[in-house]
């Protein structure tokens, strides 16, 4: 990953688009019943995952949740293996044992991806404990939703991380911004009495900052600063990244409510009509937002945006086809991997 800010913008765009196209593929698979069960898409939060991962080092550890696809991809996992996992195939990242909720790539530093709300905060604190003990200057980044702060385990482990000054960056992806200031008396989430989630780590002396979760540079900067402080032994930090909830995540089962992303809405080739999602296209979609900013730089840049999109679509299309065509694990292996030896 480059650290040249101008080059970085293009890398961010590419990764964010990759995640977007991946999630659109998952959405199609889901609608087509190519895999069973509930699932969660990262659409609308791509800037957070991509910005944050760019600030982490190769040997850092990461822990994620049910909404993990974007984290795994942003960290560099193979899209084909990720899709195959979601489809329950043998070529999947986790040999089909985990599925969508549990994608993880330990080779890239991932700890367990837990679907139990709140658990990730504890596991990541353990990751920080290991990093500190190994003394190799690494840290652990935890990605979790605002809902995790309703579970007591999050509270317990923020305390432990603070007491032991563990190198952990707690990244709370607050995707409840639509509920902000609404009927619930200004609560950021439906079911938290806190008016400002930063007050929770704050009550334990953990510095907590809030950034725009649709701006990958804001996230990158915040995580970079936090990482430097973690590595300097200053202990944990908490970053709340604010995004609006993507319309497709509002119903019980995900829907591609805003359609397949039309990059023309960023390049100007497609007009954004009136409609329920106008605000999304114009302001909140982090992918269109970055693409638009880049495309505005001139014809060459615009062409490059379109080219990246085509490339990414190709990658995902190929990955999707290969994943769909790949075999399920052999039934005789169902009881493998209960124990390591």
């Amino acid at each position: 990953m480059t650290t040249d800010p101008r080059a970085m913008r293009w890398e961010f765009l590419e990764k964010m688009l990759l995640i977007r196209r991946f999630e659109e593929a998952v959405g199609r698979f889901g609608a087509d019943k190519d895999f069973p069960g509930h699932y969660h898409l990262y659409i609308g939060q791509e800037a957070t995952g991509v910005g944050a991962m760019a600030a982490l080092g190769e040997k850092d550890r990461i822990a994620s949740t049910h909404r993990n696809h974007g984290h795994v991809l942003a960290r560099g996992a193979d899209p084909m293996a990720a899709l195959a996992e979601i489809l329950g195939r043998d070529a999947g990242l986790n040999r089909g044992r985990g599925g969508t909720i549990h994608l993880c790539d330990p080779d890239l530093g991932f700890l367990q991806t837990s679907g139990v709300v709140g658990s990730v905060v504890g596991l990541a604190t353990g990751g920080g404990y290991a990093c500190k003990m190994l003394g190799d200057g690494t840290l652990t980044a935890a990605f979790f939703g605002d809902g995790a702060l309703e579970e007591g385990i999050a509270f317990e482990c923020l305390n432990i991380a603070a007491l032991w000054k563990l190198p952990v960056i707690f990244i709370c992806e607050n995707n409840s911004a639509d509920a902000w200031g609404m009927a619930k008396g200004g609560y950021p989430t439906l079911v938290h009495a806190s008016n400002d989630l930063r007050s929770i780590p704050g009550s334990m002396g953990i510095e907590a900052i809030r950034v725009e979760g649709i701006d990958p540079f804001a996230v990158y900067d915040a995580v970079s600063t936090a990482a430097a402080r973690c590595r300097a032994g200053e202990g944990p930090l908490f970053i709340e990244t604010m995004t609006r909830r993507w319309a497709g995540s509002a119903p019980l089962w995900p829907e591609l409510a805003t359609g397949i992303t039309d990059i023309g809405m960023a390049t100007g080739r497609t007009a954004i009509g009136d409609g329920p999602h106008r605000d999304w296209y114009e302001t909140n979609d982090p992918v269109l937002r970055l693409a638009r900013e880049l495309a505005a730089e001139g014809a060459e840049a615009l062409a490059r945006v379109e080219q990246i999109d085509r490339q990414v679509r190709d990658i995902i299309e190929t990955a999707a086809q290969r994943a769909l065509a790949s075999p399920f694990p052999a039934v005789e292996t169902a009881a493998d991997y209960v124990f390591a030896n």
């Binding site: 895999f35 069973p36 069960g37 509930h38 329950g88 195939r89 999947g92 089909g96 044992r97 985990g98 599925g99 969508t100 909720i101 549990h102 837990s114 679907g115 139990v116 709300v117 709140g118 809902g147 309703e150 579970e151 007591g152 439906l190 079911v191 938290h192 019980l252 089962w253 399920f328 694990p329 039934v331 292996t333 169902a334 009881a335 209960v338």
Partner: protein, 326 residues
């Protein structure tokens, strides 16, 4: 008079009637039927009793302890803990708090809370959304355990659970919510501790729980075609447990297969098998057989999941193993 109804509909009827009858009954956790097609049925509850249907935070331990404390203070909450696996987040609240309350107070403090979850291999639940805590809970004295298998059972059992002065946990298998069965028009609370003979037979006793009852009945039909007449016994509640009914059936048939969709070790199948090996040994003509999941987490991948989950065919095989030698 009788008609057909889904498990989910009978479940909601029981809650409606309980809430109508007793104004201290409330529902903490508004989606006890999960995210499936039956979910909308629970809207009736909120429509009829808007102030008695609560949406708690995602905090299963907190929610369970609120239920226990509220019951100690004189109301009767029905607390939904969502998926079976999440019951483990509330384990101390149920096992250390609710279950011990009456005993530890010397019989002075009843704890009339009812807990509920959707347990079992639900299809693509993967390891963390497929667990079945009922056998672990059976090792915790002080809590009644209810395992309804059908619409005809769930109505009366839930009514009794809510009326009970004791903490009670009702386990609904996630896959039986939409299953229809005959229910009578005059429904009433069903006594705990009374097994239901779901099918009479003389060659082998199949004791089955929850979804296992459905598999056992299917197996019994297949076995009948092979000339084997199976009796299907549904204990319906694990605490209290109708030992007499199970032992009486085994006395008649001399053979026992126990079906429980959960890992083998320390399962309810093991407990029932051990009980019969201890108290009904003289009746046994063949080894007891347990049909359970193997001791493996539940994989996401559909063919793997299916391979590890007990079904009618596995029950037939188990029965054949101990009838072949007869």
């Amino acid at each position: 008079m009788s008609r057909r109804q889904t498990y989910a509909a009978a479940f909601v009827d029981a809650l409606l009637d309980s809430m109508d009858e007793d104004r201290t009954v409330s529902l903490i956790g508004s989606a006890p039927l999960g995210l499936g097609p039956e979910r909308h049925l629970t809207n009736q509850l909120r429509d009829r009793h808007p102030n008695r249907v609560m949406d708690p935070p995602t905090a299963e331990g907190g929610v369970a302890s609120v239920g226990a404390g509220a019951a100690m203070a004189g109301v009767r909450p029905f607390v939904d803990l969502l998926t079976g696996s999440f019951v483990y987040l509330a384990w101390t609240q149920i096992v250390n708090e609710a279950a011990n309350g009456f005993y530890m107070s010397g019989g002075k403090l009843p704890v009339p809370v009812t807990y509920h979850c959707l347990e079992g291999v639900r299809g693509a639940g993967a390891p963390q959304h497929s667990q079945s805590p009922h056998a672990m809970l059976w090792n915790a004295p002080g809590i009644e355990i209810v395992m309804p298998a059908m619409a005809s059972d769930v109505y009366g059992l839930i009514r009794t659970a809510i009326q009970s002065p004791n903490p009670t946990m009702v386990f609904s298998h996630a896959k039986i919510l939409g299953v229809e069965s005959a229910v009578s028009d005059e429904r009433a609370p069903l006594p705990f501790g009374k097994a239901d003979i779901k099918r009479k037979g003389r060659d082998v006793t199949i004791v089955a729980l929850s979804i296992g009852v459905h598999h056992a009945l299917e197996a019994a039909e297949l076995l009948a075609q092979q000339g084997i007449d199976a009796e299907v016994v549904d204990p319906r509640t694990l605490v209290p447990f109708d030992e007499e009914a199970v032992l009486a059936s085994v006395e008649k048939t001399g053979r026992l297969v126990v079906v429980d969709e959960m890992p083998l070790r320390c399962s309810s199948a093991s407990e029932i098998a051990a009980t019969v090996a201890e108290k009904g040994f003289q009746h046994l003509k063949a080894p007891v057989q347990r049909v359970t999941r193997p001791d493996v987490p539940v994989p996401f991948s559909p063919p793997l999941e299916q391979a590890l989950t007990p079904d009618a065919e596995q029950i037939v095989c188990a029965v054949r193993r101990i009838t072949a030698e007869a």
